[in-house]
Symmetry: D2
Subunit: 287 residues, 4 copies
């Protein structure tokens, strides 16, 4: 929950757990003159498991010191502990593209939060397989492009989308009702966030509200996850639920569910933008 500035950076680390990591990282930053403003760590086991760390720090004149920082951290610390790591700079605003179909609630929540300054990114482009939401998007001053997708043109359509989205750091599927191919997904590893309208792993696949209604569940939910080649099986980022009763028909479940969906998706996207998420196999560590 820290206030950040253009001099804020975040270091994300994944490695085998060994003694001395905190000391090594904090000493490095101290000798660079950095001030640590947030530090989170997690180890999967008491001893010898996988280790994850997120450090947020302030460093004067960061802009001119980025390269040195990247280089020296790599050679002085990361190599010694065989870390997988990345350094993110708050001043480098992330670029986000959105894919959507016809329903607008998830998209509008993102556009709206962005307009109010609570999603730290640049929304570069919205691509849809329908015309329906053009006005909603363009009134925010964001480019909107329709790419029709059919069984026949799927390969070309995805190539077109991929091309339009070049340069983005993140793609968000804000209720995009087309299944992305394994090939497409492989080009954007852990860079595509989807909102699924159920409490996964319950109700994978189509029509989750219908499935929920038939099952008679007393809570409905939504799940934001990274997209992998396995449909609805990627690492879960965030989930939430809302209480329902026998009185809700499918349509009413859907309407209530949309409020859950838009909040869950907005939280997941924000955490990604704030560099809070480290993927651990098929799971996420969210700091």
């Amino acid at each position: 929950m820290n206030m950040t500035t253009a001099n804020t950076a975040r270091l994300l680390i994944k490695c085998e757990d060994k003694p001395g990591i905190v000391q090594a990282v904090s000493s490095f930053l101290y000798h660079q003159g950095a001030n640590i403003t947030a530090l989170d760590q997690y180890a999967t086991e008491a001893q010898g498991g996988r280790y994850f760390m997120r450090v947020e720090f302030e460093l004067d004149h960061l802009e001119s010191r980025k390269e040195t920082l990247l280089k020296t951290f790599g050679t002085n610390v990361a190599e010694r502990y065989e870390m997988q790591w990345r350094l993110a700079f708050v001043g480098d605003l992330k670029k986000v593209g959105i894919l959507v179909s016809k329903v607008d609630h998830a998209l509008l929540e993102l556009l709206w939060r962005h307009a109010r300054g609570t999603l730290p990114c640049e929304i570069t482009h919205v691509v849809s397989n329908h015309e329906a939401l053009r006005d909603s998007v363009e009134q925010f001053g964001i480019p909107f492009t329709v790419v029709n997708v059919t069984k026949e043109n799927k390969v070309e359509a995805e190539a077109k989308i991929n091309e339009l989205m070049q340069g983005n750091d993140l793609l968000v599927l804000a209720r995009y009702m087309q299944i992305l191919s394994e090939e497409f997904v492989s080009k954007w590893p852990m860079q595509v966030i989807n909102i699924h309208h159920s409490f996964l792993p319950a109700f994978v696949g189509a029509n989750p509200y219908k499935q929920a209604h038939e099952k008679g569940v007393k809570l409905i939910g939504a799940t934001a996850h990274y997209v992998t080649a396995d449909l609805d099986q990627g690492p879960i980022i965030e989930q939430d639920v809302e209480r329902v009763s026998h009185e809700y028909n499918v349509e009413q479940l859907r309407e209530l569910g949309q409020d859950v969906e838009r909040n869950v998706l907005a939280r997941a996207v924000r955490w990604h933008l704030e560099d809070r998420i480290i993927v651990d196999g098929n799971k996420t560590v969210v700091f």
Copy 2:
């Protein structure tokens, strides 16, 4: 949430939706001199669906008028609308038997709430396939019997349990780790409540917390449901969840989950005892 007395009764009705049902039921009760203290209804469709109703009412000298009431409602109202119905008298305290294995949290929550007067029933007997919880049960003054269950003696063991439980209105599986046979279940239709330690239909079967941990869900849950021949598939009565993070190992999920389990089970049992539940196919209507 009404205060009840020995003169309180509850009428539960299920039938095809037709105009005039409320009028017919309320006129009947009015002419008997009853005062309606709660009335809930639900229809699955705007017109022509299934109709469900729960009416709670007070009637002076109820004890001596039960038979007349049952008979006249049947002939004057229920037959006309082809209702499935039952009349429950608050003064006739329901009898409850509990089945448990070794973990005590769900059992103790029930015993404790009962001791404090918030579960309106008589707990007649606790049967377990282990000795472990004898002291915990007997200190509440409730009989405790061990019935060992093995692959070999399953038929005899269930016969023994069935015999011990005769006279009860409800059986509660408070984390009873044996699967009841189809034959046993068929003798207690919609009279056995189980607590499953997951948010069904996610994680059916064994070790749901292990499954949840492997999947990396961000919420864990519990589900109370009526037991049918289909394992973990009976009508859901109540569900709830608790937020977790990547930090929870399987043991910690289990510990947190137990708090959810005991509250969900206690609510489901209470609703059953208060005659709030009508089963509708594989779903419940909870008034």
Copy 3:
């Protein structure tokens, strides 16, 4: 949760509790040929308290039968039980005016839900004491008028607002930062809904998030209530909270709180529009 049509009406009743009310109301409707689609009742005491009832029903050719219905219910039923009552017709869409200052989240949530068809009303006008939100409102095709309010012109300003709002059934204060005078409020009894940015009665008055931060609470909340002459003391319609920690500064409490505020306000307005609320002294009955 019923689906409604142009033939749907709702009867709201408040009176002294006496035997036979349900019977009298349901008989009346039955003989009119109406089909009851929802019925809720509540009595403050087991016997002799205040009684509240909401009945939703369908009646063919409702439009042409409104007057007869109103007249005959009055003479045949309401007078006998000395009821305070009203009959609302779903076909007569309620008219809503909104007052707002500079922050947009509560306003936009209403406009957005309205645009998506989940707030059954006509939003006729938005009045603000600032220019800031003109574009946000006008892009929804809704008239926007600025009425400046100062200490000196308060009487005239309120007269102007009152005039602009004539014909509305409900006024919503979507974070309107001016205190309405007792005189103004008296003209709109239980017709003005306000969203207060705290869990009332905690933190009445100005700067509730600052107060909450100083007090170190672990949950922040929002309260939607009818506006009366007593500031922040009118009947509460809905409340909700969100969990916070020591990490949140005042600005972050405000940002998180806005999500609670907009949902709480939207629910309260919807319940009012669906004729679910009966005011009982300084409290509400919400069916």
Copy 4:
């Protein structure tokens, strides 16, 4: 959520925020041979505010190295940064005394969780101003003493309680209905946890459920806080709420509220026992 052992210790630090603290602490621990298993920090401002830190670590042969550790951390690190600090050893089980009156739910929740191994402490003694709960306590094998408190004997009674409680690290007021004097409280600074049956600061003082009922709130809550000389005003540790409706009378609010109270109290006590709480003026930092 880490698993702890007899070699686990926790270092709690409060000081002015300055660069290098993480580095200094982690270097110290590294050179002692400790393995950091959890690290949390918080600063009230981006620069120059108050700084709080909790470090959990494992150190082989901890028992024989405690004194050296305490001494060297003090001279090598704490003095340099003018830290207020303490070092807690998981192997030194905390001693807890409980004060209670007649209602048992909060007490039993603590005894029960303790019996199941989820409250890491020794419960040494329960003192009450009534006989009512003797059996409930003694069946857990815990000493129970009655100290009557009247207006006349209050000084002597508190002296008696103080004497009985000597040697404890924490006193828990599990619905103890006597107000402790300023003098008593001053002897146990931030060592007395109380459960207040409302969402403070709403409904301070007596009969909060009655106050909540009169106000018509839609959520009821409970607050666990450290006891200070100002009644109901000490630093808040944890709060939670439960949804209610107009249907709940005072008695039903109380019954539902008790479930919230016992969970909130249990969480607060556990966090204290796990050395997660640092008091910051009139607020708490809970790691």
